[in-house]
């Protein structure tokens, strides 16, 4: 008999038919109906309205029917919490059934029904089942404690379930022990409390259970052992001794978890001979993992990558097993390649190179490129092999396959950076392939090579000229390299042609381009060359630091952390768990009672589109920016003479690859101190910024209204602090874009010009699109206005806890730099399409962790609903629902908006509760960025009154 027929019915009135059948007295008809309902549920139809009828079928001897009803309950109980109570009696009765299968089924299902009222009734049956005679029931009950903890942690603690769970670690049955371990580990991790500490006593019990439980149980136990901190070398040895037989297990997950435990203890073992022996013992099982299914190979390879970073000797003789097979999936091939690079040494390099060369002729372009790059990386990391690597690269260039040639040139550039002045003889060969280059990175690399070795290339000027023909159309990467190469050429061969060339390039780069980086670099060169050519030589032709191939190596502390995570996702992503784990708790009462009232749809909806995979692990760096925050800007205030006298040579980096170019932190200094817009030719040293505002660069944000202007601009800088210049302004959103509206009042006796503006890093990452402020010359005792378009720049984002202010620096040619603080209004970055569906609102609210909720009382009174709606909408905040809370005078507004935070937009969810009778409102906000809450609360008073 086939079940597929249950999926067939789609006709109208189907629900009605179900209902009738469910109420039928005919048992088989009833069962058929339940099957149809489950089938409908699976394909996504809403059958929640059948709830009472289905639950009525619950009390039955038919196990299959019971299971189906339970399945239905798990899915729909949440939508009908009041009706779900109907099932409680049956559950409680079932939990005392003589058949252990039914007892277990009852607790297991009850734990899956995430309804508070049911949970209360779960406690007694659970207590009984944890002490059941049958191990099948006990092991199910053990997991159920974790379920209960997820729903209501206090209940678990109050009822003493944690202690019972700990007692189960000593249970006679290994599967019960294993599930208790799993449950305790989870509670330990989620609660952050110290509920599961392995002691030497429990350790012994776990190790004993390890030998007897199922493969999955072994994984749970081994994973928990990985967290155990051995007391001393002896302790570590005894654990390893008990765990190492697991390396022979057929289940790869057991093997990987065993490796994890051993790797961890290895650090503690003092007996070097034993350590070596253990390392030797781990190699064959690791190699065997590569015979598993490709998906498992992938996890194994990501893990082996970590292991060989820590202890390459484990697999140093096994490089061959990582050679790619023709039919390996591409994700396996790519990972194998990484490991081959790590294991390559001057002993095996010939073999490895032969393989890389083989791969470089395969069909998959991405793989071919990676193979070519791999050759370059080997050359950089193994000095003895560099020459052999170069020869292979030259052979590959001879194939004339376009992307192979380009990739080869990119890596050869790196080889030159690693071994300066050693392999220039091959430049001639490279130059034969100029015409094939059409990718920016390859072009930039070739140009860098030409510039760097200009004195050895006879026709360097001609070669560069070829590239210069298309200068305006090139990408920024290529343009920057061209500027630098032209300068190098000029410094090395100051003949007529290079001189013309440099004139041309610098003129273009300073006058025609919109790219500030390019312009800045050109200006710096120009000034350098015109003020002190010798200094220029010292700077531009300075000896460069030699590079290393550490692009893919992880930082040691992170590596240690990840090795403790072998097998887990963290070890696959090579990121710490915090970077990708999103806790999502469902039970949020307020948003929930909104659900049945206003919205039809149901079902949990996971967190909105606002989360994204955090980029490459930033590690502790992110934190370290904070103290520098003020420093960044204060640097600017230092009256540094801008003349480039014997600077510490930070030569322009050839490309964006490591070592990293100077960070953008320095930009402000370069800009404000070092250049003058008016001059086409290199200017004299500009007036050093005066001591303006040094005493109190960051006063409290000025909040005086600009009476004179009559607009809503606030006074930001008073004339006495601004040496006669007062500034009014506000950040607003105009035409769907953030804009800084500014008005300057010149109270000095001289005309002011050359206004430029810069921001410090701020929460929204706002920055002026253009540093120059377009106000022209402001005459004495007159004023001028400008709107500075703002952009959001990821590099300008400050860490979360920064003060919610905007620190601004404005300079002009006459008065120098002035600093002031302004507020950062949230509406400036609220985008127009922030409206979301009610169901999405509820879903997002539920899926966001409780910690993200921020509440504040505000002493304001809500104005008329209509005007509030309009004002909110003007600020791109949308009232999604308004409702009266039953039996109280309270009213609630649900408001949404989308903030254009850098990288991904943040959906803001806002709930405002107020009552006509009582002054003041209470605002709740929730989003993936709780740090935005202060901005929300700051914006509310103006919008709601």
């Amino acid at each position: 008999m086939s079940d597929s027929k249950y999926f067939a019915t789609t006709k109208k009135g189907e629900i009605h038919e179900f209902k009738e059948d469910l109420r039928s007295l005919d048992r088989s008809k009833k069962k058929e109906a339940v099957k149809k309902v489950i089938a409908a549920m699976t394909v996504g139809k809403d059958v929640s309205m059948l709830f009472p009828d289905v639950v009525n079928c619950m009390q039955t001897d038919d196990l299959e029917l019971k299971k189906l009803v339970y399945l239905y309950l798990i899915n729909y109980a949440k939508t009908q919490p009041d009706l779900a109570i109907m099932g409680v009696n049956t559950f409680v009765k079932d939990s005392q059934d003589p058949n252990p299968l039914i007892r277990a089924l009852a607790v297991r299902t009850m734990g899956c029904i995430r309804v508070d009222k049911i949970t209360e009734y779960l406690c007694d049956p659970l207590q009984r089942c944890l002490k059941d005679d049958d191990p099948y029931v006990r092991k199910t009950a053990a997991v159920c404690v974790a379920k209960l903890y997820d729903i209501n942690s206090e209940l678990v603690e109050d009822r003493g379930f944690l202690d019972i769970l700990k007692d189960l670690l000593a249970d006679s049955n290994p599967m019960v022990v294993a599930n208790a371990v799993a449950a305790l580990s989870e509670i330990h991790e989620v609660s952050g409390k110290d509920v599961f500490q392995i002691t030497s006593n429990s350790l012994f019990k776990l190790l004993r259970a390890l030998n007897e439980c199922t493969e999955w149980g072994q994984v749970f136990i081994l994973d928990s052992l990985a967290a155990y901190q051995a007391k001393d070398s002896k302790d570590a040895e005894s654990i390893v001794e008990r765990v190492s037989p697991r390396l022979q297990h057929a289940n790869c997950a057991v093997v990987l978890s065993a490796v994890k435990v051993i790797m961890k203890q290895l650090d503690l073992i003092q007996d070097d001979a034993l350590v070596r022996q253990l390392q030797k013992k781990m190699a064959p099982p690791l190699v065997t993992l590569l015979s598993a299914e490709p998906e498992i190979q992938y996890v194994a390879l990501r893990n082996i990558n970590l292991i060989v970073q820590k202890a390459p000797q484990i697999l140093s003789h096994e490089v061959k097993v990582f050679f790619c097979k023709y039919n390996d999936p591409i994700y396996v091939k790519m990972e194998k390649l990484e490991i081959m690079i790590r294991l390559a040494s001057d002993k095996n390099i010939d073999q490895v190179l032969l393989e890389f060369k083989e791969y470089a002729t395969e069909v998959d372009v991405d793989f071919v490129r990676r193979a070519v790059r791999a050759i370059g990386r080997c050359a950089v990391s193994i000095e003895k092999a560099a020459e052999r690597c170069i020869n292979v690269l030259l052979e590959l260039i001879q194939t004339k396959v376009n992307y192979v040639v380009q990739e080869a040139i990119i890596v050869i550039k790196d080889i030159f950076r690693r071994y300066p002045n050693r392999y220039e003889s091959i430049i001639a060969t490279l130059c034969e392939n100029l015409d094939t280059l059409d990718e920016p990175e390859a072009k930039a690399s070739m140009i860098w090579i030409i510039g760097e070795y200009a004195e050895r290339i006879d026709n360097a000027d001609e070669l560069l000229e070829q590239f210069l023909e298309t200068f305006p159309e090139e990408t920024a990467l290529v343009q920057l390299q061209l500027v630098t190469a032209a300068v190098k050429l000029f410094l090395k061969k100051p003949t007529e042609k290079p001189q013309q060339m440099i004139q041309l390039v610098l003129t273009y780069a300073t006058q025609e381009t919109d790219n500030p980086d390019l312009r800045d670099r050109a200006y710096i060169y120009w000034r350098l060359l015109s003020t002190d050519p010798d200094a220029a030589k010292e700077v531009v032709l300075a000896e460069k630091p030699v590079i290393m191939d550490n692009t893919t190596s992880l930082e040691p502390s992170l590596l240690t952390l990840l090795l403790g995570q072998l097998g887990n996702l963290a070890s696959v992503y090579h990121k710490p768990p915090e970077a990708f784990v999103t806790r999502s708790r469902m039970a949020v009462q307020r948003a929930e009672d909104l659900a049945p009232a206003s919205f039809e749809e149901e079902g949990p909806i996971s967190a909105g589109a606002s989360e994204a995979m955090p980029g490459p692990v930033a590690g502790p760096e992110v934190q370290s920016h904070q103290p520098d925050l003020l420093g960044d800007l204060l640097d600017v205030g230092e009256p540094t003479p801008p003349a480039p006298v014997a600077p510490t040579p930070t030569p322009p980096q050839p490309t964006a690859r490591p070592p990293a170019p100077p960070t953008s932190n320095g930009n402000l200094q370069e800009l404000l101190g070092g250049l003058d817009i008016n001059a086409g030719a290199p200017p004299p040293a500009p007036v050093a910024p005066q001591q303006a505002g040094q005493a109190d660069p960051f006063g409290s944000p000025a909040v005086r209204q600009d009476q004179a202007g009559g607009s809503s601009l606030r006074q930001l800088l008073t004339a006495d602090r601004g040496k006669g210049l007062s500034i009014f302004g506000t950040v607003a959103r105009v035409g769907g874009q953030p804009v800084y509206q500014l008005r300057f009042q010149n109270e000095t006796a001289q005309p002011l010009d050359g206004f430029m503006i810069q921001f410090n890093k701020n929460t929204f990452g706002l920055a002026p699109a253009n540093q120059a402020v377009n106000v022209g010359v402001i005459g004495p005792r007159s004023s001028g206005s400008a709107s500075v378009p703002l952009v959001q720049n990821p590099a300008m984002v400050s860490p979360a806890q920064a003060p919610p202010t905007l620190q601004v620096a404005i300079r002009n040619n006459q008065l120098g730099v002035a600093y002031f603080n302004d507020s950062l209004p949230l509406p400036a970055i609220l985008v127009e399409d922030g409206k979301i569906e009610g169901s999405v609102f509820v879903g997002s609210w539920k899926s966001l962790p409780e910690a993200n909720e921020v509440t504040q009382q505000l002493p304001i009174n809500i104005g008329s609903l209509e005007s509030v709606r309009a004002r909110l909408a003007a600020a791109n905040l949308f009232v999604m629902a308004h409702k009266q809370v039953a039996q109280t005078n309270e009213e609630v507004l649900y408001i949404t908006g989308k903030a254009a935070t850098v990288d991904t937009p943040t959906q803001l969810l806002l709930e405002v509760r107020y009552s006509k009778a009582i002054p003041g409102i209470k605002a709740f906000t929730k989003s993936t960025r709780p740090d935005l809450a202060p901005f929300v609360f700051e914006a509310l008073p103006a919008l709601l009154t």
Partner: protein
Amino acid sequence: MAASAVFILDLKGRPILIRDYRGDVSTKSAERFITKVNELEETGKVSPIIYDEGVTYIYIQYSNLYLLTVARNNINSAAILLFLHKLREVFSHYFRELEEESLRDNFVIAYELLDEVMDFGYPQFTEAKILSEYIKTDAYKMEVQARPPMAVTNAVSWRSEGIRYKKNEVFLDVVESVNLLVNSNGTVVRSEVVGALKMRTFLSGMPECKLGLNDKVLFEAQGRSAKGKAVELEDMKFHQCVRLARFENDRTISFIPPDGAFDLMNYRLSQNVKPLIWVECTVEKHSRSRTEYLVKARSQFKERSSATNVEILLPLPSDAITPTVRCSQGSAVYAPEKEALLWKIKNFPGGREFMLRCKFGLPSVEAEEETQGRMPPVRVAFEIPYFTVSGIQVRYLKVIEKSGYQALPWVRYISTAGEYEIRMA
């Protein structure tokens, strides 16, 4: 930490089964998953573990299905991938063929199974044989209510008590497959033997088994002279029934076997073996319109053995025109769908050499883009019965059961080709 939900989807991403274990992911995850997979496949960056917006998708593909696990936390991904493969085995055991149709036909049972194999996202019990003792398909529905078999929670979770056979027999197949990679210049880059001891047991009661191999490490430990017969196995992996601690101690392989077929042991050794069948392919390009392959295949094992079902797959250019073949043994046909020539030799005795000649043309107009990329490797498949590359031998298989019956062990040996690749010049 644990999985949030298991989805089984068709290749378009439509759900066939959804089992939500934790209530923290949306059923819409299936749509997101399929969009993401398609997106990644286009850029060639797909992998079996995908991250998207706080959710991790771990999946395998089998016939016309995706078996997908969704998780929000730092789950043990190796365990989950293996779990999915085990789940596939369980379903295959129940429905014979696991594919969309059979799953829809049996969705009620499938839901029951999903309830038993995983709880709150933690893998629980995946022994198909034992599961089928208490989760029955319609055909075998019992009148009596099912109870969980002892085995589910026992230390011996893979075998139930009370099994009876009239005739107690054990079949043991030693299957070795040879993985070989030969470079285009004719050097062996790597060779490796992956062996499996495949067992089929038909034994009554709870038999205690002990297997003796000519294991070099064991012989040395016992101080026995190996007489050149012992083999050194690099890595051994055992079915969960084998007592690993005991093996670690004294290299004894002792176990209570599951009923029926299972892999008792897998092993691997990467000693350099002489390639059993050597294939050399010389390409002669006379002109654009006339290319000729000259292929020599040589068997490099003892004359008393013989390889059967030998298949040599010789890649041809995709635009090859009218290939004509002659060979000294077996038959060779052009297989355009594989862009290759398939040379089949039913029986290939040891120490012999056979030849094949193939002529074909190429279009006189060269394709616009020079067909970049190398030809796929020559692939060889074969079986050599009564022969193992490693020389492994089963010395004894003792079966002791308290009822004291005599069991008959049957042992067979066979070697086959695994990933046997010879790169074309």
